[in-house]
């Protein structure tokens, strides 16, 4: 939320002050995405190697977010916007990878906590964007960061080296296929890339007015959280494949119905925590890198969108493109993860 507040406050500031043309604004947003989502892979690898970095990185990312917020609150100039943008992008990368590692380590083999952790981002994006475009100051994001920091220091314990995470069987509901780490990682990486790109070009057959502005973000948030919870109950592979297939089916039924569109977006996002935990299960001693790899795939999906934009794809075509990509994602997930039931069949036979 704070990052998107800074991003859009900065965009509004430089645009209104006529200090930048549209190209500069485009570059600013691309710069933010590259730092915030591209660097998580590097930060994650560093945290995997150095326990001290791992302990601090998430906390630093959260608490120090007050600095760019203060900068943009005090000085509404183009230079302040650029500085706060770069700092907040770096801190966002640090917070995500640190928080993600802590959650993976302390999840007791459950996918749900990771799903809940990543789900909140979608709401942060929408609230931060709306707040950033409004005329109000940075008091709300500063208050949120301050409250979260206090809560973190009051309640969170420092995760132990291994946490509740066991390298041999990190997630009971995730059963990897016998393919090597390389193939499994590549398959899940491309599945995340597809979800990112398809998520951005998702056709909305209704006008986003009133509460419908929040619909994609709320659906995405609920989908990621529910994906983890359901995967823990019925199995990761089953949940991912069924939700993606049902989502594509509903995409064609949606028309201008916001309810069906919301459900199809929700279902499409259910695979998110599964692919993340799948990557973590494939490389259990490199959780930071695994988390960063998934965010790098998200970044590539966004970059693909900047090259093949929604505007160039018609409403109908985007449905077919998403269908093809969705089927590819299903196949890739099926190549990486095994069904829970198969395991028992294998045992009996």
């Amino acid at each position: 939320m704070s990052c998107f507040y800074i991003l859009f406050r900065g965009v509004e500031t430089v645009y209104r002050a006529n200090e930048a043309d549209l190209a500069t604004i485009g570059i600013a947003i691309m710069l933010y995405n590259c730092i915030a989502f591209g660097l998580q892979m590097v930060f994650g690898s560093l945290a995997d190697k150095h326990p001290k970095i791992e302990k601090l990185i998430g906390r630093v990312g959260l608490v120090f977010m007050l600095i760019p917020l203060a900068i943009i609150w005090i000085s509404q100039t183009a230079i302040a916007s650029w500085i706060s943008l770069v700092i907040c992008a770096l801190l966002n990368a640090a917070f995500h990878v640190g928080g993600g590692m802590d959650v993976l380590k302390e999840s007791n083999g459950k996918i749900a906590p990771s799903g809940i952790f990543v789900s909140s981002g979608a709401l942060g994006v929408v609230t931060g964007t709306l707040y950033g475009k409004s005329e109000v100051g940075a008091l709300l994001p500063i208050g949120v960061v301050l409250t979260a920091s206090i809560l973190l220091f009051l309640t969170a314990k420092t995760p132990s080296k291994e946490g509740t995470f066991t390298s041999n069987k990190p997630f009971p509901s995730i059963i990897l296929t016998k393919h090597g780490v390389g193939i499994i990682s590549a398959c899940l990486f491309v599945a995340v890339f597809i979800r990112s790109y398809a998520g951005i070009i998702w056709p909305l057959g209704f006008e986003k007015i009133g509460f419908l502005v929040l619909l994609p973000a709320v659906s995405s948030c609920l989908g990621k959280a529910l994906g983890g919870i359901i995967a823990d109950k019925v199995g990761a592979m089953e949940t991912a494949v069924a939700s993606l297939a049902l989502s594509i089916f509903l995409l064609f039924l949606a028309g201008d119905s916001w309810i069906i569109t919301g459900i199809s977006i929700l279902l499409f996002n259910m695979a998110m925590p599964i692919t993340l935990c799948g990557l973590a299960a494939a490389m259990p001693k490199h959780l930071g890198f695994a988390f960063g790899l998934s965010t790098f795939a998200l970044l590539l999906g966004y970059m693909a969108y900047t090259q093949i934009a929604f505007n160039e794809i018609s409403f109908i075509n985007s449905k077919y493109i998403i269908t093809i990509l969705g089927i590819v994602a299903i196949l890739l997930i099926a190549l990486s993860l095994r069904s829970k039931t198969n395991r028992y069949v294998g045992k009996n036979s």
Binding site: A23, I25, S45, W202
Partner: protein
């Protein structure tokens, strides 16, 4: 081509038609921005660099895992 990209940016930035993204990646405002000729090259270098880093890491992890299994 620049005109097309300019139009795209204008729609996205000014009218904010799809500025609230489904993903944490965020608002999709064009990266191949006008007036910045090296941007596509920079982006290509960043993407290639990221992919090379990812491949090297995955190969390393894969080797380590195989080694651990044989031991």
């Amino acid at each position: 081509m620049w005109e097309k990209i300019h139009d795209f940016l204008k729609r996205e930035v000014l009218h904010k038609t799809r500025d609230i993204a489904i993903d944490p990646v965020g608002p999709a405002i064009g990266g191949t921005a006008i007036g910045f000729p090296f941007l596509p090259v920079i982006l290509a270098v960043l993407v290639t660099g990221g992919l090379v880093f990812a491949i090297i890491m995955i190969v390393k992890i894969s080797k380590k895992k195989k080694q651990a299994q044989t031991e």
